[in-house]
């Protein structure tokens, strides 16, 4: 069953859990990427690399507005046009206006989370433009009319035969499951689009403040295509995606590639510093950079600034056992996996808009271990849970339950009585069902729906202790 990202959280999760293809595809791919990351980070001084990239990014965020101004100055000096967008509507309008002013009826796009965040395709299509995603994975899900389900591998949730079906249905591909043939077909189709497009749009993996350079990283070459072939090139970048110097960029690039796919470097890192000049054979005549806030400044002020260190490598998704079970769509936002569970609520106007996500984790910490900038994701998830409680966004019964539990546990007498009652009750009950408890009433039925529960011990440790002490005559 396909996951409907507009369905309520519980339905999305159930849809995801009941799709066996999803689990096979996702866990196979995430295992592959995790192993590649471990090998690649292990082949170099990976821990030092993480420490250094984090230090560099921390410094950027400590001096964030200054670096943004430096970037703006240098981009402008290079002949780029800089736009600032506060939110989704601003950003959509800016890009749409650029397209309309240049009569760009066809827009080719490289994979970009920032443009997903602002629902750019939808906005441009509303304005009558045709938008074509050119990353192979994005192309497939655009044909299938689905959002991406992974930060770097958007079609990770689909198996080969499902992709072949999409190609047969939408592109009239003759029946085949030959990856080479499918790739050739996509190459031929998209090549036509690159040559015809009036505008190229990409995100920005990082921008170099000292030079005013926009860097985009791809393996297929579509990033170079969209930033080189059309007359107009627009890069939409989250305002946190800054590095101070060229050397910092090269350092972060390596951390990104190794963490995302386990490559030393991706096939292409395309660095654009400005538009085509007199005498240049090719390149865009206009380069526009859209600096997108869309909640980032709010995220900093709310205390979730650490998540702004994220370089969007997807390593935490690959490492996450929850993501492996449910894939990306069940998270219901642009970003998924552990980082999505943090930034979807932290970026949103109200944290409670994504109130389920901070709880969609066992807090195992595998994400933090994988993160190239060591973001303490479990800690941020705990902070979000606490903020939700303070905002009164948690269920009333839960709040009552926790408060009662805390009161009981705050008294030795009540604690011991509770223990005794639980022991007697659970043993009586377990006796009826023959050993283990197979069913408990709500809310504990969540446990027994899938697992047995062993009854409480007939006598507690403290009773043993007291009896032993008595026998020893200590008391």
């Amino acid at each position: 069953m396909q996951v409907d990202i507009h369905a309520p959280y519980k339905d999305r999760v159930n849809q995801a859990l009941s799709d066996p293809n999803l689990r096979v595809a996702v866990s196979k791919a995430t295992d592959r990427m995790t192993n590649a990351r471990l090998a690649s980070m292990g082949a170099v001084e990976g821990q030092l690399l993480r420490t250094q990239v984090r230090k560099m990014k921390e410094h950027v965020l400590s001096n964030w507005p200054d670096y943004l101004e430096q970037l703006e100055t240098n981009l402008t000096r290079n002949g780029c046009t800089v736009h600032w967008a506060g939110g989704i509507a601003d950003a959509q309008a800016i890009v749409k206006d650029i397209a309309l002013q240049n009569s760009a009826n066809l827009v080719v796009k490289a994979k970009s989370m920032a443009t997903e965040e602002i629902h750019l395709n939808h906005a441009l299509e509303q304005a009558g433009l045709r938008v074509v995603e050119t990353d192979l994975g994005e192309y497939i899900i655009q044909l299938a009319d689905e959002p991406p389900s992974h930060i770097v591998a958007p079609v990770i949730h689909k198996r080969l035969e499902e992709i072949a079906e999409v190609f047969q249905e939408k592109l009239d591909m003759p029946p085949t499951r030959e990856p080479t043939k499918m790739t050739s077909l996509a190459r031929a189709r998209l090549r036509e689009e690159f040559f015809a497009a009036g505008m190229g749009v990409s995100g920005c993996n990082f921008a170099i403040a000292e030079t005013g350079t926009i860097c985009i990283v791809t393996n297929e070459g579509n990033g170079r295509m969209v930033s080189s072939m059309p007359r107009v090139y627009v890069a939409v970048m989250g305002i946190e995606k800054l590095v101070p110097t060229v050397e910092d960029a090269f350092l972060q690039l390596q951390a990104l590639c190794r963490s995302a796919t386990g490559q030393q470097l991706t096939v292409y890192c395309s660095m654009t510093s400005g538009p085509r000049q007199q005498g240049d054979v090719d390149g865009p005549e206009q380069v526009h950079v859209v600096l997108l806030d869309n909640g980032r400044s709010r995220m900093l002020a709310r205390g979730y600034g650490e998540a702004l260190l994220c370089i969007r490598c997807g390593a935490c998704l690959n490492a996450c056992p929850v993501y492996q079970e449910i894939g990306g769509h069940a998270y219901g936002g642009t970003y998924n996996g552990p980082i999505g569970a943090v930034i979807s609520p932290a970026l949103a106007p109200e944290i409670a808009q994504f109130k389920e996500l901070p709880h969609a984790t066992s807090l195992c910490g595998a994400c933090r271990e994988a993160c190239p900038v060591k973001i303490d994701l479990p800690r941020l998830l705990l902070d979000l849970r606490s903020d939700l409680v303070q905002e009164g966004a948690s269920p009333k019964t839960e709040a009552w339950g926790i408060k009662s539990y805390a009161s009981l546990m705050n008294s030795r007498r009540m604690y011991e009585n509770l223990g005794k009652m639980a022991s007697i009750g659970s043993n009586l009950y377990a006796g009826m069902s023959g050993g283990n408890i197979k069913f408990m009433p709500p809310p504990l039925n969540g446990w027994t729906a899938y697992r047995d529960f062993a009854p409480f011990a007939p006598k507690s440790f403290r009773e043993w202790w007291r009896q032993r002490s008595k026998m020893r005559g200590q008391k």
């Binding site: 807090l363 705990l382 805390a406 705050n410 011990a457």
Partner: protein, 281 residues
């Protein structure tokens, strides 16, 4: 977390038995207690202890968590500060993480600096059981004997928050007769996660089933771990799925509580092997 280094071998410790061990698995507490005593450590059990507050903290209820944290500090900190005990030992990586790591966090959050400092001082002498046995007492062989195949599952808090992994593995390697086999995807979470197991029970159980199937694949008779919460989850799944493998807390193995042979629960174990968990029956 900065751990104190002991000038002299510690003589007395306070046992933080944890509420789950106290009420559900007293055998684990008894094993922990006896293991320490066998190694010439006098054990003190402060009977005022209850729960460390982790469930409240995990669910985001910091005020409630602080209430129980204050209680915990009031019970344990004076014992350490007066020199009555040299350390606090817990047979649980998760609860040790709560008291030695997150107490400081929640009191810093509420700007209760004195309590945060007290928590920090207490944390420096708080140890998970295997960490204490190996790192502080220098034990590699507890003298335990057990025939069978076991696989070690590193519980997340123990492994990733406390960084304790080598210690339990060392102790298991020292068990005579025990063949320790690899658990595929060993460091994947079992899916417990406290309230997560209830709130997101479907996901949690799917993770548990992945763990159970890896346990089955490993060919082990038993999964060994250092937290009874994860043990409860894994056993709940193994039992429901009918897989002939059982999870045991490491203390039970190190203290010879399981008889002479590990066997799947389908084969009835000798009566006395069940003794610790059913103590007093």
């Amino acid at each position: 977390m900065h751990k104190a280094s002991f000038q002299q071998r510690p003589k007395r410790v306070a046992l933080f038995v944890t509420c789950m061990v106290d009420m559900l698995y007293p055998g684990v507490g008894i094993a922990a207690c006896e293991l320490l005593e066998k190694n010439d450590i006098e054990v003190v059990f402060p009977e005022e202890q209850t729960c460390c507050g982790q469930p409240a903290f995990n669910a985001g209820y910091l005020n409630e968590a602080r209430k129980l944290a204050r209680r915990f500090l009031a019970v344990f900190a004076p014992l350490v500060e007066s020199g009555e005990v040299d350390a606090v030992v817990a047979p649980s990586g998760s609860c040790a993480t709560m008291t030695s790591h997150f107490f400081e966090v929640i009191f810093n959050e509420s700007r209760e600096t004195d309590l945060a400092h007290q928590a920090e001082r207490l944390a420096s002498v708080t140890f998970e059981l295997t960490e204490f046995l190996v790192d502080v007492l220098g034990i590699v062989d507890t003298g335990a004997q057990l025939q069978g195949k076991a696989a070690y599952h590193p519980c997340c808090h123990l492994y990733r928050e406390l960084g304790v992994d080598r210690q339990p593995r060392t102790l298991l390697d020292g068990v005579e007769g025990l063949e320790v086999v690899d658990l595929p995807h060993a460091d994947d979470c079992c899916g417990f996660g406290g309230l997560f197991a209830i709130k997101n029970s479907g996901i949690s159980a799917a993770m548990g089933r992945a763990k159970a199937s890896n346990a089955e694949q490993s060919g082990a008779d038993a999964i060994v771990l250092c937290d009874v919460s994860c043990m409860t989850h894994i056993n709940g799944i193994l039992s429901r799925e009918g897989i002939a493998c059982h999870a045991h807390h490491i203390a039970e193995i190190l203290n010879n509580h399981l008889g002479s042979t590990l066997r799947p629960p389908s084969q009835p174990a000798p009566a006395q092997a069940d003794h610790p968990r059913r103590w007093g029956d």
